[in-house]
């Protein structure tokens, strides 16, 4: 289940706007399912309908792009992983933005999708470069912490701990967490409420 994420290469798609929330990324009606399959078609569906084909996710020049460039506080709102899952199912493998909502960021990491940040001016530049040349080759490099669009290179940022999990292929924490079950039980045993709180009704 573990795979290294050192670089993501392909083409990018600019999505301009601050505070784009999880309900816009995937409206609640798409949550009524017991799997994440089929979420891709619902990605930004209401915004896309409102823009009548002019939303970047519908514009022909961005079809097949795999790197999403966003602005400030992207993914705010719900903790639902349906939001990054919808973006991932649409084909996105990395995000670059001014900032990300915390749970959204954590969900992306847990799914193996790096979210990197850059300052507002750099993001604007990246979005403009992609809009001017949607076919430009784009590479996000987690080892050098750089994004390259054609011959333009800019620095990007991600927390060192998170970066190392992608590079080492240990972003999927589940295996590590499960491996420490003995220490988990030892920690639990020291907590007073474990002995006085019996939660199970059965």
């Amino acid at each position: 289940m573990v795979s290294e994420v050192k670089t993501v290469s392909g083409r990018a798609i600019p999505l301009v706007g601050n505070d784009i929330d999880t309900d816009r990324i995937i409206p609640a009606r798409y949550l009524k399912a017991i799997t994440f399959d089929g979420l891709g078609e619902g990605a930004f569906i209401d915004d896309r309908k409102a823009l009548n084909g002019q939303h970047p996710f519908d514009q022909p020049q961005y079809q097949g792009a795999n790197i999403l460039i966003v602005n400030r506080n992207f993914g705010c709102g719900s903790s639902r992983e349906h939001a990054p899952q919808a973006i991932a199912k649409w084909g996105i493998q990395a995000l670059i933005g001014e900032s990300f909502a915390e749970i959204f960021f954590g969900n992306c990491v847990a799914m193996g999708i790096p979210c990197l940040t850059a300052d507002a001016a750099t993001i604007k530049q990246l979005q403009e470069l992609v809009a001017a040349n949607p076919q430009a080759a784009v590479t996000v490099n987690l080892e050098t912490l750089q994004v390259q669009i054609a011959d333009y290179t800019a620095p990007v940022v991600i927390g060192e701990g998170t970066r190392s999990t992608f590079i080492a292929g240990t972003w999927d924490a589940c295996g590590q967490l499960v491996a420490n079950a003995d220490q988990v039980r030892a920690t639990a045993a020291k907590l007073p409420y474990i002995s006085w709180g019996q939660l199970a009704a059965s």
Partner: protein, 467 residues
């Protein structure tokens, strides 16, 4: 770096160790699950051949997809039926306590855990729902998580997390009449912004919170996430202990005294160090209403929809989008805005004290003609308590519909939805575009008493005129 706060103490006590990534492996004392974000997590467990490590510290209920009119099984909505069946099956297979419809204790997950006494000071709590921050009202550190993390907690009872900074938000003084906990949190978010809390835990302190009851504190903590904070909490005190004592899962007898002593020990020290401190005066907080498409776009009831030039440059883009979507003009008063639908309920404001405040306004009055107004209790227990007090009658006589418990129109995963461009006065937590079930529907957030006032007047109105 913070030191000596409740957050620091609870974090340290629950730390299992440091992972190779540098993240902390944190033990989760209580895991709450529901039907929307858990089925995929159970599927991931099955794929990996893993078991639930601490089923005895996991509790389930069903809330998001529950119909509030006809709850007969199978549900009319086959997708909703499929979701509740998946939860029933997963709980049964994994020996997880499940408060199903009709159990007497079903309801919105953030309403039932406190009322059952599951939520206690000093616990770490996780749930696949961002409003898990509600449980911080008890001095718990409570995180909303995604589905991969629900899997992690099921499999290991832990999460991989990086430590947060702690911001103390102090509000002092007595709230003016007609001003409620909801107004306090809308005011805080409006001031600090929807991303102001990113990277922080919010500690709510000061005499205003000291005076609040537990349900009011839950309302404030519930919306910590809307300000970008990962969690929010209030230090436990006598109000907390009085609320908890005697509840189903609260410590009993000798354990109770031990518990109180421990709870006292985990409170933030008087000389605790914070990463940041922000101070508000309760007297400055008016009844507050949102006009836009984020919970941070709020104004006092007597204020005007802000003009772009009054806003920070970085807030203008989303403001322009909000004017268009909400069909409100900059500079126009919010008071007098005509309303189509009034919704009282949700994990923010679906508790008994919320219904009591709304009923005070509704009593002896009539919902304005053409308004659809409905009340959705947060849990089966809230419903029962409200009916014992006759609140259902007060609402029904005024022309409100009285429903069965669930999340309802807060996110409209059940049949309760706005239609087309309808505009609602809502006691819920989010005014995002399309949030209440229509891709063009509009939401104005406010306190339950203000929603009741809007229902009576047919337009956004000042609750103080009906007190």
């Amino acid at each position: 770096m913070s030191k000596g706060t409740l957050f620091d103490k609870v974090w340290d006590l629950h730390t299992v160790g440091t992972l190779p990534s540098g993240l902390t492996q944190l033990f989760i004392g209580l895991h709450l699950i529901h039907e929307v974000t858990s089925p995929q997590a159970f599927a991931m467990l099955r794929e990996r051949g893993l078991k639930v490590l601490f089923p005895e510290r996991t509790v389930a209920t069903v809330d998001h997809i529950v119909p509030t009119e006809n709850q007969a099984r199978p549900f009319a909505d086959t997708l909703a039926e499929e979701m509740i069946q998946a939860l029933e099956q997963n709980c049964k297979e994994n020996n997880i306590t499940f408060y199903n419809i009709g159990s007497g204790s079903q309801g919105i997950v953030h309403v039932i855990a406190p009322e059952l006494g599951l939520t206690q000071p000093g616990l770490t709590i996780a749930c696949g729902d961002s409003h898990t921050s509600s449980h911080g009202a008890f001095g718990a550190i409570a995180f909303g998580i995604g589905t991969s993390q629900v899997r992690d907690v099921l499999a290991s009872q832990t999460l991989a997390l990086s430590k947060l900074k702690v911001r103390k938000i102090e509000v002092n003084g007595t709230l003016n009449p007609g001003v409620f906990a909801k107004d306090v949190i809308l005011h805080i978010i409006r001031t600090l912004g929807v991303k102001g809390g990113v990277g922080y835990a919010y500690e709510y302190a000061g005499t205003t919170f000291d005076q609040m009851n537990m349900e009011e504190r839950m309302t404030v903590c519930n919306m910590a996430i809307e300000g970008g904070a990962r969690c929010g909490y209030v230090n436990p005190d006598q109000v907390t202990y009085d609320y908890l004592k005697g509840r189903d899962f609260a410590p009993k007898d000798a354990d109770w005294d031990k518990a109180v002593a421990w709870w006292e020990s985990i409170k933030s020290d008087v000389d605790a160090v914070y990463d940041d401190v922000v101070v508000f005066d309760a007297a400055d907080i008016p009844p507050t209403v949102t006009w836009g498409i984020t919970p941070g776009q709020g104004i006092g009831i007597n204020q005007f929809v802000p003009k772009p030039e009054e806003l920070l440059e970085e807030d203008r883009f989303i403001a322009e989008e909000a004017y268009r979507y909400m069909d409100l003009l900059p500079g126009q008063p919010i008071k007098g805005t005509k309303i189509d639908v009034c919704f009282i309920g949700s994990c923010t404001n679906g508790r008994i004290s919320d219904l009591r405040e709304a009923a005070k306004i509704a009593k002896g009055r009539k919902v304005a003609e053409g308004i659809k107004a409905f009340v959705v209790p947060g849990s089966e227990r809230v419903k029962q308590e409200a009916e014992a007090e006759g609140l259902d009658k007060i609402f029904q006589e005024a022309g409100f519909e009285w429903r069965e418990p669930g999340c309802s129109m807060c996110l409209a995963m059940n049949p309760d939805k706005l239609q087309g461009r309808q505009i609602s006065a809502s006691s819920s937590n989010r005014n995002f575009k399309g949030r209440q079930g229509s891709s063009s529907g509009r939401t104005l957030l406010m306190s339950p008493a203000m929603v009741a006032t809007a229902a009576i007047k047919g337009e956004v109105s000042d609750v103080r005129e009906l007190l």
